[in-house]
Symmetry: D2
Subunit: 392 residues, 4 copies
């Protein structure tokens, strides 16, 4: 089960997630499992939920599933929609596409706004479609806040504004899997109805927890939605959570870890967490510029602070580069997914991460570019370093 | 998050599950999360799957979900059945009933054989119903091998034989959540089509993994089954698992733990594991007899080896007893669930457990009976001790 | 490195020490090592020292060595005495004898009061010897508070009183290796000059830390003592500790564990810790009485609360019994050491331990006695259980 | 106990030791403590000792003390020498000086060859002194292989040759605290009589274990040496170790860690371990050259592969620089010790360490130099990166 090639020293896990889990969180997960129906567990749940709401910026319920983020996508849909309902989705990249697949397999009628994987959601296009739906047949608008496959972030407040201006009653569902706890996000203020999240990115946990944060409107929708649901049903969660319990056995040890991760986030302070991610992201982009390599994200306002996708020069295979870097420097980078497979690679710079970890990662990329014979100008790491030193 | 009342020494976690997690498994879970798309992960998956099959006694595929066992129930149904299909289920206790609820919420037509919660599945009743269904409208028979709410085990080979004798084509689905890796179980030999399991009982892990073991027939059924499914869909799992990967982010750290748990099971040997559970269960029943307390399970052939449900004397509240024991002796016992709430309590004696841990637990029960004023005859612990010493 | 015979479930570590380490402490030890010259470390040291003093009941300095308790014995002597100095020691058992050996190897002149290993220190004998030393040639009286080899505790306040009444200026040195943090101990109030302790008993840590608590008088003595010392020299410790540092590299990870162990002790409260040990010890002695087995300790006032030494019936080998219990029940008991080898075995009931752990241990002893054919009356475990239930 | 300023991400522990402990080792230390007199422990000890000998390149005994390396210095001296014996020592830096202090406090007569802290041991000077001692009054030559305070390595084979050529019978004692398991070392082949080592550097453990490897000649010397010794006495260790035991309670959990660390070293292979250290050291020196900063070590043949000491430009305080780097980048660097305090800082690049960790560390130094206003030429990190990429 150990690495196929022996590597000494710490692995650099710079896929955009799972992210490097803090040793404090790993130690918390290492606690003996307890009775999920006992008083100690109840107090854990209540404490976790109250702190978790701050991360979502909501005062409403947050439901936690023993699942990956994919399950949380499914939960958002089955709780609020009925067979044949129309959902307006937007092609920001691979994960938007995968969510679309979930919706289709559940029998929803997806209205798909095509995108080029290099831009975020254009609120104007949302507005346009909604305006063309005066009868309100579109039940939900479902978009990805930070597209993990491309490093492009979308303007969620803008989407909400477009919906409001269109006067359309659709629910707004937002995937924050790779943005939550790394980039500013405001469930309540932005009028999001269902926020979808997972444990293994900014929350710095191993994978295994999926989250839905809910608005009142989403809850109301769930009362009449007729998609079949059992595991994902919010209602028994909300009921049981009131007393600190769950409708079925929760992933206890991950909850131990979540409690610790929330402590860490609160100790640093969410504002400081966001600033740190912004700083590390800017340093990374500085390296790209110096290397003369292209960011897949085109619009500066849409640059992700949690990961950066790098476009390979024509004729060079990103996966070969990634393999060289993994074998030679023991660093995992994110692959290009779907239609950009081999054409890009992704650098995760989120979660439990700091300036020197980033510099190790960027140096690994720069050395890998050289070893793999990828055309680039030297100096990316130096540029990042100069930027970071100036932020001191 | 710590216990509300301070207790020194180890907690005795004798609910029938989650069970006491071995420190070896906790340490494995404590490993840094790795890239679930990298070569080290692939080799982990392949190694886990090949060993896991031995535990199910199958050569077919085993699908592992990031979910609790409840999810694995749902997966068994949505992969094989179509809207309105009839499922024959059997009331062995609370968990059979909960599974029934899942089926109903998914839109299946449950045919329910009532039971008294004190007996296992009667194969003759299964045969009777199937015989009354010459047109084969029943798509599946779904039963619980070891009913966690009652401590009653059912004769799965007998159910299969009844189905065969009735010449009925229904699928056989079996919940082994609290029997797998504690009691002999044979997916292939007993002709089970879908075996449902979870991580937190005999597999000695924290909760967070759900399992389905599949027969060819189940796989064939899944090709035409029309219940909506996405997260639970077996097909992408089977495809991705071939190379050691998953269709969406798996619960990596629990897989580390599972690998270690399988090592532990193989080091002891499955036969030895089953003998140990049988011995600890008999010792527990010896204690009950000596206390003059009734086992909820009536038929010796159906006694569970992983837990024992104890019937409270009339007028005595099991939950009060459990509270006394928790507060005074820091031991968690299983509550009576559903219709037996307050009327029984359950002693888990499965997983990472041995003679002296059992004796600690039984002494705790005996002292608790005394402190809570529950009528009983002293000497249960002594009887168990005499039995265990004779097994030396 | 794993057990030679495979055993499932938790090992029962009932040697009187090392004791069962709480998982909280193990997790603390698992933290990444930090710079022992940095600010985080300094704050750890200062916090540990201030809490540790409460455990010794002293306001004076406590010196912590990276060593076992044996090193702390040596430190007590080399810091305070000069070549050829006389030390009055008392044969309470094997550990008193080993300490004597240390003193002799260091060139001290040991005056030895013989004992029968079944009684504690007789203050009258101390008084007698000191009275016979009007010229004050005896530099120190060195006794063991709780003799780990016999389960006999001595009256330290009584020894101090005898010294005072004799008007003798000798230093009083006390070994509390198996009593500290399990039994009431008062360095300042009892006028002890050097208290010797180790990490692996009541402090619930793995072995690797040795302690000396010091009086002013001991410090004064150290100024003129001429035994050669370097590693064990208190002076640079006291100096460096003021700012939270150490004269040479400390055992950082054990200090992480010590900090957690002190938290645990303070959460329970030292009075509650002592009561718990007293209760568990009485329960154990109740078991002995019921078994008709003899306690090596003769005087009730001298019964140890941290361990009990059991005298084997004539012609029965304690080590054979221990082997049976280890192989069959995976419990480690303490061997008879030195002149009582094979004649006694010792049950540790200290540290991270509670009623049900004790019951598991006592049941293991009772079953072992039966399996090994050791004559005894059944019912020891039952007697302990009755006693514990009454303490509810 | 947590960091005084909150830092997210991993701390960079680049003092030359304690070094970054691998998480595998931390997990091993996290195992429950076992009976140090039982069979499982014996098999652990025997396995550790046989593998440890390979690291020392010896077939003779290796003694492991629960102590820091300072204790192992003392052990080397007290086991082999008698009061007033002369010891020839060589001022390579602070640790040579500290060892001298130990010798003097133990009553030895130290003959001191002065050095400038920038060169290693000059075998010619050793030869000169020994030649001036025809009567053989010098009992031992004690030198430091790799001076941790200066990053200067000495030619131990050369020292042995000088001793041989002088035909002098003195013992050769070598401190390998910061070289063992990082740089090639050959106890037997180089004719070393006592090798001194500690756990917290190349062995990648937390501090708490001290080691002595012994030649036959050292053992013979110990038979007649009359320095007082008890804790450090080799004899009972060698005796008890034969069966896998210890004369007093060993630091069990650190032995768990040592066993794992030895596994890691053997998996990588010692030759590969040494090459890796050589590569990382050369990269570091490349950075120094590019920064136009001076290496404290003057002779290329004496450059240490485990750490590099950097001379600060006149008028700049190394400790201020280190403080800036700790506060801003959460990296601990080694301070200048003793007479070079404030004049140098030290970069540890040993143990559980790899190319990207080094790059993170060097970038941190380069950014720190800038922030602290230390004159330097940019480009050190780039130079290291270029060198490492070429080693691919």
């Amino acid at each position: 089960m150990d690495a196929l090639t022996f590597h000494e020293g710490r692995h650099f896990l710079q896929i955009p997630g799972p992210t490097n889990v803090p040793d404090r969180v790993l130690r918390a997960i290492n606690k003996p499992t307890i009775d999920h129906r006992g008083p100690e567990f109840a107090s854990l749940t209540l404490s976790v939920l109250s702190r978790l709401k701050k991360v979502f910026n909501t005062t409403g319920p947050v439901v936690m599933f023993p699942s990956s983020g994919t399950g949380a996508w499914e939960a958002a849909l089955v709780n609020t929609l009925s067979a044949g309902d129309r959902v307006l989705m937007y092609e920001t990249g691979q994960f938007a596409q995968l969510w679309r697949g979930v919706a289709e397999r559940l029998g929803l009628d997806v209205e798909w706004i095509e995108g080029d994987w290099r831009h975020g959601v254009d609120p104007a296009k949302i507005a346009e479609r909604l305006s063309a739906d005066p009868e309100g047949s579109i039940g939900a608008v479902a978009v990805v806040h930070n597209e993990t496959s491309t490093g492009v972030a979308s303007n969620i407040a803008g989407v909400r504004q477009a919906m409001n201006e269109a006067g359309h009653p659709a629910l707004l569902m937002v995937d924050t899997i790779s943005s939550l706890a790394s980039m500013d996000y405001r469930h309540d203020e932005w009028g999001v109805d269902v926020t979808v999240a997972g444990s293994q990115k900014g929350l710095m946990l191993p994978p295994g927890l999926g989250f839905n944060a809910l608005s009142d409107k989403a809850l109301q929708a769930s009362a009449s939605a007729n998609l079949r649901r059992s595991y994902w049903d919010w209602k028994p969660f909300i009921e049981a959570n009131k007393n600190g319990f769950f409708p079925y056995t929760p992933a206890t040890n991950l909850l131990f870890g979540l409690s610790e991760a929330l402590d860490i986030l609160m100790e640093e302070g969410l504002e400081a967490v966001f600033s740190r991610h912004a700083r590390l992201a800017r340093a990374t982009r500085g390296a790209l510029s110096a290397w003369r390599l292209e960011n897949l994200a085109v619009m500066p306002a849409e640059y992700s602070n949690s990961l950066t996708a790098v476009v390979m020069p024509e004729g060079h295979d990103a996966d070969k580069l990634r393999r060289v870097i993994l074998e030679r420097f023991d660093m995992s980078l994110g692959a290009g997914l779907g239609k950009v497979k081999g054409k890009i690679f992704r650098i995760g710079h989120l979660g439990h991460f700091n300036d020197l970890m980033l510099m190790g990662a960027l140096c690994g990329v720069e050395m890998g570019l050289k070893l793999a014979g990828v055309p680039h100008k030297e100096g990316g790491a130096s540029a990042a370093m100069r930027f970071l030193a100036e932020q001191g």
